[in-house]
């Protein structure tokens, strides 16, 4: 207490009655979270303004009500500007003074955010007190150019076999997760965060989960499960719940990108998940209507494409000269009845480096995750895939493609020849091996070993329908009796030579054991 009094004394004695000249405006009207402001002739787009509640009232009132109310300039008009109120809009009144802050909307970034839950302005909302040691960064700025980037060459393991084997993601990539509601999009994202725990700490990506327009209870559950599994130790959650103003839901992804870029610029790796951009687009549409922008296709403002492209452009793998850090983005889009040809899905598909397409049909049939492998791609990730994965992924992709053809054929023919029957069994086995329940991401060496076993016939003694339990037994066996082989795969990132021989030896032993 004494030190605070001392500081106040120091500060007061340092007060000089200087005259400060600044540009201010006056609120013409306010409503729906938007303020029309007279003046501010020199304001620029996305500049921050401050609605100053202290201007009219007494000093006492000003101190009682000291929470700043920020605004974001989004429309420049002839005789004033229109700004979105970022805060308690009920405190903004007609005739209120508005000050220019002379900076673009900025949020705090820094290591201190790790483990915290913040809102779209970077303010803590987890009740764990203020966040110290951060610096302000503008929420929007130019993305890195080609010269500052390097090709994607390090894998980002999701821990989900189907993805890491067939739709591999590299650090710095933008991979879309797309599908109807309730088909497991969020689950893939959260499992990917959980899986980073098995990465070596030095190269473990910092994860940023941005929840946009979600129910607060749902996000709270996610945070609790991340906490429980120790994943909050390397995770930041940015939340703009459905109950928050549209402006916050519009801004949250940019806040997430900005927070992630800070780590990238330190030469580290970061992963940001936008869950989901459909809701951000809806928030943007709502804001645009209030701002009286002309609506375009599906009533979205014409620049909604640009909104998503400038957000996703910020994912990058930086060149060595720039420190070699990366920001990987996993945007999520929710479709209606699997329609990926709607406006927002088409846009985001064209901006990303591939998509993981989840199908309600597959989900209902019990496939977990419900990935439509035939329509999912990753355009850059395979160059980052480990040799171990590459070795097994080609075979499983081929088997599954053949299986899909045969499956269609099967519907018409009743008696199958032995060869076809074998193929179908094998395809069913592969499909089963790729099944994976929620909350159980696997370290990549385990993924590779399991898929290696499946494609090399080590599970063939089981009935195809028993594959899942067989796989579980295999995992347990490897953990118990082949730890060193797993460690070798992890270290060499490959399955060949001695490592392959030891793995085969272990798998033979397993086959014998279960026979």
């Amino acid at each position: 207490m004494e030190s605070i009094i001392k500081r106040i004394e120091e500060e007061i004695s340092a007060l000089t009655p200087n005259v400060q000249e600044e540009e201010t405006g006056i609120v013409r009207t306010a409503g729906d979270g938007i303020a029309e402001i007279d003046g501010l002739q020199n304001a620029i787009m996305t500049e921050m303004v401050l609605f100053d509640p202290s201007f009219d009232g007494s000093l006492e009132d000003a101190i009682k009500d000291a929470d700043p109310i920020y605004g974001l300039v989004l429309n420049l008009e002839e005789d004033g500007v229109r700004a979105v109120i970022l805060g308690d809009a009920s405190r903004v009144y007609e005739g209120m003074r508005v000050r220019r802050l002379g900076r673009l909307l900025s949020i705090p970034v820094g290591d201190a955010l790790v483990g915290r839950v913040v809102n779209a302005l970077g303010e803590p909302v987890d009740g764990k007190g203020p966040i110290a040691g951060t610096k302000l960064m503008p929420i929007e700025h130019e993305a890195y150019g080609v010269m500052d980037r390097s090709p994607v060459n390090v894998p980002l393991h999701t821990g989900i076999k189907a993805i890491d084997a067939m739709i591999p993601i590299g650090r710095g990539q933008r991979e879309l997760i797309i599908g109807d509601r309730g088909v497991g999009k969020t689950t893939i994202a959260i499992d990917t965060i959980l899986n980073q725990k098995s990465e070596p700490e030095a190269t473990r990506p910092i994860c940023i989960y941005v929840a946009i327009g979600q129910k607060e209870s749902k996000t709270a559950k996610i945070v609790a499960s991340l906490e429980e599994s120790g994943a909050m130790a390397y995770t930041i959650v940015v939340t703009a719940p459905a109950s928050s103003p549209a402006a916050f839901q519009f801004l949250a992804p940019f806040a997430g990108a900005t927070i992630g870029e800070h780590f990238m610029e330190q030469g580290k790796d970061a992963l940001v998940i936008y869950d989901d951009l459909s809701k951000q687009a809806v928030a943007y549409r709502q804001m645009a209507l209030l701002l009286r922008r002309p609506p375009g296709r599906e009533a979205y403002p014409g620049d909604v494409f640009y909104l998503h492209s400038r957000l996703l452009e910020r994912a990058a793998k930086l060149s060595k000269e720039k420190g070699g850090g990366s920001l990987t983005a996993l945007p999520i889009i929710e479709t209606q009845e699997g329609d990926i040809s709607a406006y927002i899905p088409t846009n985001v598909i064209s901006i990303t480096d591939g998509q993981i397409f989840l199908l309600a049909d597959l989900f209902n049939k019990g496939q977990r995750p419900a990935i439509d492998v035939g329509n999912s791609v990753s355009r850059v990730g395979s160059s980052a895939q480990t040799k171990a994965m590459k070795k097994v992924s080609g075979k499983i992709k081929l088997e599954l493609a053949q299986f899909r053809e045969l499956e269609a054929f099967m519907q018409f023919s009743s008696d199958l020849d032995a060869e076809t029957k074998k193929r179908i069994d094998s395809g069913q086995r592969m499909t089963q091996v790729l099944n994976q329940s929620e909350g159980h991401p696997l370290p990549f060496e385990m993924e590779a070993a399991v898929i290696f076993a499946a494609v090399n016939g080590y599970l063939d003694s089981f009935d195809p329908s028993q594959t899942s339990s067989a796989e579980q037994r295999l995992q347990d066996f490897l953990m118990r009796e082949a730890k060193d082989v797993l460690a070798q795969i992890k270290e060499t990132k490959n399955i060949d030579g001695d490592v392959e021989a030891s793995l085969r030896a272990a798998l033979d032993k397993f086959a014998e054991r279960v026979a």
């Binding site: 605070i4 009655p17 005259v19 000249e21 006056i26 007279d38 000093l59 000291a66 003074r97």
Partner: protein, 130 residues
């Protein structure tokens, strides 16, 4: 009602120019011209809206007009002179006790704030957040 707003703004602009050039086009004449124009273009329905927009513009002008506030009457002369040095010319200073000490002046979009209130509020925030 942007059309009404445009008419109102045009009217005010014309009145201001007339004032500056002290031509014969007084407000009365301007209004007569406007009404005639609205009649010939069939837009008489706009008139009440234009009047409302004029009211809004007047309120805005008042708020944006040069004004000087002082915490205490005794500072008036000093404040008026200081504001004038910065290009804000007001005829008199209004007493506003909430300023605690000092003065502030504003005109159009410019604010000069040399009040203790502003500094104390800033100080308060600084002490709170550090």
């Amino acid at each position: 009602m942007t059309l009404a707003r445009d008419y109102a703004q045009a009217l005010v602009n014309a009145a201001h120019t007339a004032e500056k050039e002290s031509t014969k086009a007084e407000p009365k004449k301007l209004v007569a011209q406007l009404v005639k124009h609205l009649e010939t273009t069939g837009r008489m329905k706009l008139l009440p809206h234009i009047v409302r927009e004029l009211g809004r513009l007047e309120a805005q002008e008042k708020k944006l007009a040069p004004q000087v506030e002082v915490a205490h009457q005794k500072d008036a002369a000093h404040a008026l002179a200081a504001a004038a040095k910065h290009g804000i010319h007001a005829n008199e200073a209004r007493v506003n006790h909430t300023l605690v000490q000092g003065w502030r002046a504003s005109s159009k979009g410019t604010l000069l704030d040399a009040s203790a209130k502003r500094q104390l509020v800033e100080l308060y925030k600084k002490v709170l957040t550090h």
